[in-house]
Symmetry: C2
Subunit: 188 residues, 2 copies
């Protein structure tokens, strides 16, 4: 490993987002990202496998947080309560970074390969949630349905959050949409 670079990872993520937004994802090279961050390409590749992965580097931490929150939910929590707690934890993690989330989303929606990668990430989060629920003794199909419902609420909430001009916070939107999903499935 080279010398210690203070917050190299965060600086590279920030530089990549800026360049992707300014020039487009296809037109940006790893060399340019490293330069903007004041680091070397070698440092970049110590942190990320390629120029795509810098956009998805948070996925593992997201999954980990979902899974541990479900596992740590009180023994008498229902499956949807455990999922709600997990979404609340995730919202707390990413909720303070609306501008970065907006930038990232605009890069992703503009590129088919990135949209695919985002769908794969969401599917992996759903699979992780379902597995954590089964680990609590929730049977099938309840575990898979609760997990899919949770990711659906997360996805729609996230889009509302980055789309709207108002200042509702992500945890609040998620709680509201969980209630809305309950009303919708109940046939209201």
């Amino acid at each position: 490993m080279g010398r210690w670079e203070p917050n190299a990872r965060g600086r590279l993520e920030q530089a990549a987002l800026e360049l992707y937004a300014e020039r487009g994802y296809e037109q940006t090279t790893v060399a340019e990202i490293a330069k903007r961050a004041g680091l070397t390409e070698r440092t970049y590749f110590r942190h990320f496998a390629d120029k795509r992965e810098v956009l998805f580097a948070g996925a593992a931490a997201l999954r980990e947080l979902l899974v541990t929150t479900v596992a740590d939910a009180p023994a008498d929590a229902t499956p949807i309560d455990a999922v709600a707690a997990a979404l609340d934890a995730v919202a707390g993690m990413i909720g303070g970074r609306r501008e970065g989330a907006r930038q990232r989303q605009s890069v992703i929606v503009a590129n088919a390969e990135l949209r695919e990668r985002e769908l794969i990430k969401l599917a992996a989060l759903s699979a992780g949630l379902a597995e954590a629920l089964r680990g609590r003794g929730v049977g099938e199909p309840a575990a898979s349905l609760a997990a899919e419902a949770g990711i659906a609420v997360f996805k729609v909430s996230f889009e509302q959050w980055i789309g709207e001009a108002r200042d509702r916070e992500l945890p609040e939107i998620i709680r509201q949409l969980l209630d809305e999903l309950k009303a919708v499935t109940a046939g209201r």
Copy 2:
């Protein structure tokens, strides 16, 4: 166009599924699929753009059926009722072909590129459903949530249907899982 080939499309689909199952998707060529179907490569490419698309040729019809069923649902149907009717129509369309669905699924789960394509197809079905619901005057986020919930139920039901040894039919599984989702989101 060449001379009329009776059910060329269906024969090519069947031949592709057989060869993908026997030899693997990567190892199969379009020339081999055409030969197995007793047709020419030229005929193949009149029906499908490449060897991947033969596995996803039904997606457009599926989307069309979902969308028109939602549009044609009674005026007083709730969003989830309209979604349920659409899933029932789709189940009727594919429900008689469990063996083919199993073969197709085993090809898809074995290949990362095909799994991605399947996720994209499901996302497109959800987007189509949401749009059809908005066309009925359903607002957001109810339209997106009902659509995502419907596709989640479809996905989990489909996996149960092709996975289980018993002879429950797909429409029955879907109806049961819609009830189960209702119970799960209500906190039971």
